[in-house]
């Protein structure tokens, strides 16, 4: 299975590696912004807007947004398949889990599109 790490199939191993890479990207993004905010005590609108209008930062934000959406989906899927089970919910579990995942997927799609709109409005 080790040779399968790079494969783009829908597998647990693929999810596992995506979850970790996306985690590192989000971590770096959050630390970067924490450093910027802490080193700019007199942050005003002009500086804030310039920060997000910068091409490099816009690219970083877009990558972080994509990583966040992938990370959230894998996390939600993991939790849903662990807790929304027939052992806990009975025979309706499959339906409830499907509905929950559908709502979450819809939310993630909205987050992604909304995020791009916010980033490109700056």
């Amino acid at each position: 299975m080790v040779t399968n790490v790079i494969s783009f199939g829908r597998s647990g191993l693929y999810d596992w590696i995506v979850q970790r890479i996306s985690a590192v990207v989000i971590l770096l993004y959050v630390l970067c912004h924490a450093a910027i905010i802490l080193s700019t005590p007199d942050m005003d609108y002009v500086r804030w807007r310039a920060l997000f209008a910068d091409t490099g930062m816009r690219f970083f934000s877009l990558v972080a947004l994509a990583a966040l959406c992938a990370h959230a989906w894998i996390g939600i899927w993991t939790i849903a398949t662990d807790y929304l089970t027939s052992r806990i919910l009975g025979p309706k579990a499959t339906f409830i889990r499907f509905l929950f995942l559908l709502i979450c997927l819809g939310t993630i799609v909205v987050y992604f599109i909304w995020g791009i709109m916010i980033l490109w409005s700056a």
Partner: protein
Amino acid sequence: MTSPSRDKRPVNLDISTIKLPLAAITSITHRISGLILFVGIGILLWMLNLSLSGQAGFDRLQDLLTNPLATFIVWGVLSALAYHMVAGVKHLLLDIGFGESKEAAPIAATVVIIVSLLLIVILGVWLW
């Protein structure tokens, strides 16, 4: 009918009666904080949108953050983020082979709790 000797055997593994070790508590908290962040992303995106919408929006957000309830919600989201990140770093360290032993698990869990609590307090002081 069951005989007395059968009654003494454990019926099943009732997970709700088992005391979770510290590492398991930090693990479930990691999941809960992740779920909180799923909603929190919406709040953060809303704030980012408002802050970038114009000088008026930026001022409105700053004004809003003087409201104790709004500050508390932001603190809550950032606390979940801080905890999720600290526990996540522990997870990544475990993945590359650090602290996998049985002895290391409660120590690592304690470190996660102390560091994240410290960050949460610092965030609270910074926000207020």
